[in-house]
Amino acid sequence: MAQHLPILPIILPLFAAVLIPLFGRIRVQYAWFFSVGATGFSFLCSSWLLSQVMTGRRVRYFLGNWEPPWGIEYVVDYLSGFVLVIISFMAFVVTVYSWKSVEKEIPKEKVGLFYAVFMLLVTGLLGIVITGDIFNLYVFLEISALSGYVLIAMGGKREALMASYNYLILGTIGATFILLGIGYLYMVTGSLNMADLATLLPPLYENKVVLTGFAFLVVGLCIKVALFPFHIWLPNAYTYAPSVVGTFMAATATKVSAYALVRIMFTVFSPGFDFKMVPVTEILFYLGMAAMLVGPVLAISQTDIRRMLAYSSVGQIGYIVLGISLGNQTGMVGGLVHLLNHALMKGGLFLVVGAIIYKTGITQISELKGMGKRMPLSMAAFTVSALSMIGVPLTVGFVSKWYLGVGALQAGKWIALPIILLSSLLTAVYFWRIIENVYFKGAQGQESGRQREEGPPGMVVPTLGVASLCLVFGVFAFIPVSIAELAAQMLLGKT
């Protein structure tokens, strides 16, 4: 059975997605149980896969036992194992957390549908990560995107509909570009398997068709990643989605697209191609830095806390892209570790916001006064995550920043260093506004007046768990970093 593990993380949520509409009719709670079970096992399988990979073995799985390049292949290597664990972990945490929040935000008759689609989203995201087939990647990308559109539209406000629609239009443009790029590559190589493409492509690097295909792939993925200036779909989508969906997508969706970008750039194509033959990393470098500045600046001007976090995501994506584009191992490690770190930080922040909305319905920053006393545990988690985002030492945020900074210096790209630090400062500005409101404003002399309104344990425990991981991986940073280092070696090792 052990050799079938690679398929399990994908089909468990898929099965759940199918079974939930059937059993959810009997009792709504079953939907939650199935989801938790599926994501939980998915996480266990992913962790097991990662541990397998860490022994130095690449795990491959042929669907239907059709050998590549004919059949579809699932590959788990350092990189995909790492991302797989991140995604399935966040899926598990968010699902556990979701019960109360969904109960409140989604009409009862739609809860079953909600969980079914949510599981499809998880399936799609995990599929993107694990697949070794470039067309399969497109299909999973669309599965996740479609379920994303549906989930966002379930947000209560009518703005959610327009947000979902705009996301749909831009997402489809991106996906179609990707499809077109895949077509170009297929046209000259006749293969869709990533590993196979990697051996077939190098002699064709001068070919104009290959270059065009590459360009379409990168642009399409940049839209999916929401890299500045393709980020316009993101803020509304995260703001108006149901809080569970906003949390999960903020923590994982763009990361997975970033993973796909890395895959295309470094596995299908090679570092030599990216850095020497086309100016793609150069462009990504500057776009990443632009995102790092624009995101926080826009975040500062927001009054809605979720929209602020969404713009902050735009900035954080810049870090990941910057790390990828630096072209040395340190920078790459920074970018890859930030996949995990940002998932934890942003996940934690959105989880807290979800709890606040559940408990009080507050979405405006100015209304958060005195929240530090009303929801002390949640706000503690928020503070830890926020400090992480700023990049205070001993939190995960510092680890990414350190690697990115050192990587930038090693690459001789000095300009990146002040940008990274400036971005941290801007991040500090918009988070400090909240922390000041939460702890130090209003409610003077009401030391015992206001009673506690902490969220239910089902929400608080996952939140605290994620927030404490921000600290754990900030102190024991060698754990994710060592995996990311192996992954970076693998990606950059080929010439």
Binding site: H4, I7, I11, L14, F15, A17, V18, L19, P21, L22, R25, Y61, F62, L63, G64, N65
Partner: protein
């Protein structure tokens, strides 16, 4: 609704069984020639839509309730995934039909693919129908 021309109603009534039969044929034929679950499913779904257009949605709902549609769409996927899981449990890879214990590997493959196609067909047909009726139900 449903008050269409008598010719249309007569012809539709006579045609729908044949359309459905053809849909089934396309599904069953999928593993050996042009056809398959998608195409067959769409044809089946189209027959339901035609029925609805001509005789009215209430008529459709009588024979094919919304609940049935919802369940069928899940069942189709379940069939697909279930066969995949079955092959896993038997010891093959996911969707490796030839390990199914049905005599020769060729025959097993035939049956396996057929099962998959039927699953796809059910899902596609029911989803098509659901989509159409959900859209039509919204009288703006």
């Amino acid at each position: 609704m449903g008050r269409g021309n008598v010719i249309i109603r007569f012809i539709a009534a006579k045609f729908i069984p044949f359309i459905q039969l053809f849909g089934l044929y396309v599904i069953m034929h999928g593993e050996a020639g042009p056809g398959g679950g998608f195409q067959g499913g769409v044809i089946l779904g189209a027959s339901m839509i035609l029925y609805g257009l001509v005789f009215g949605f209430e008529a459709v709902r009588k024979t094919y309730s919304q609940k049935a549609g919802d369940i069928l769409s899940s069942v189709g996927v379940l069939l697909y995934a279930g066969i995949g899981l079955l092959t896993l449990l038997i010891g093959g890879h996911f969707l490796e039909y030839r390990v199914l214990p049905l005599g020769t590997p060729q025959f097993s493959s035939h049956i396996g693919i057929l099962g998959i196609e039927i699953g796809v067909g059910i899902t596609v047909a029911s989803v098509m129908t659901i989509l159409f009726f959900e859209m039509a139900r919204r009288k703006s």
